[in-house]
Subunit: 143 residues, 2 copies
Amino acid sequence: MGELKKNFKAYLAAQGLKTTQQREVILDAFLASPSHLSTEEFYLKIRKKHPSIGYATVYRTLKLFSESGIAVERNFGDKQTRYEVLSDEEHHDHLVCTSCSKIIEFEDPEIERLQENVALRHGFKVLNHSLELYGLCADCTGK
Amino acid sequence: MGELKKNFKAYLAAQGLKTTQQREVILDAFLASPSHLSTEEFYLKIRKKHPSIGYATVYRTLKLFSESGIAVERNFGDKQTRYEVLSDEEHHDHLVCTSCSKIIEFEDPEIERLQENVALRHGFKVLNHSLELYGLCADCTGK
DNA sequence: ACTCCAATGAAATCGAATTTCAAAGTATCA
DNA sequence: TGATACTTTGAAATTCGATTTCATTGGAGT
């Protein structure tokens, strides 16, 4: 079983919560899905194979993923909350195309380091961060 | 008249829109207000001196500011949209305290430069960006 | 199997964002 | 300056995603 699945189950156990069929299904689907789906999009996807699972359950389960630390909530320009799998220790940021909505992930340790510096200068303890560059992707630049 | 006011009026003219008393009042109040007020907060503030101005007008005018380029919409953890004056060429990012909601602005040209590099590597043309560090401010670290 | 809670699904509710619509205001032009 | 043509405004209605409620169902330990 993958690390993330283990972590999530451990979280459930630790909180006195239960492993249910729905949570199993949703977790598997989540790990197999592209990142950054909105709750709605993700729900529609799940519904195809599991029509009996309700929106509320998907919604609550995604929240649980976030609370357990195996996922994070993200917010790009639109108002929908999107979820992203969070592998251990790996941070990444995003390039968001304002024309076609494509999302590209990138990592830059140097930027991370500078961020820490900034925080230090302000006596700030960073728990999380979010960096998005909005603009036109290579495909859309010409249009 | 300040640069921003000029820019906004020029924008109105260019779009065939009108300068109204409400827009004048709201613009002045906006330029004189602390950054990052939410629409609601800003509306309440304006209402004190101008009880006849409606929420919808404030809402629409803030949108106009954003469209005209003299302000930008921001979204920190909560769901409220916040507006920030955008002086020419000056970018800044944010430290957001998750405990007391304090917002500290900072600038870091080096981070900006690295962001441009990342974009270049991906053939991306950056139009805007958003960088927030969430965590505990100096005051809240001890609590 | 029994019991205690947690979990689920459908529907209701919430809150901010956004739109509608009739009335009023602004700018242009004769 | 007065008429004309739109744009703007305020209040209320609507939209839309997020979140909660509640009656019912389902895990898990005993």
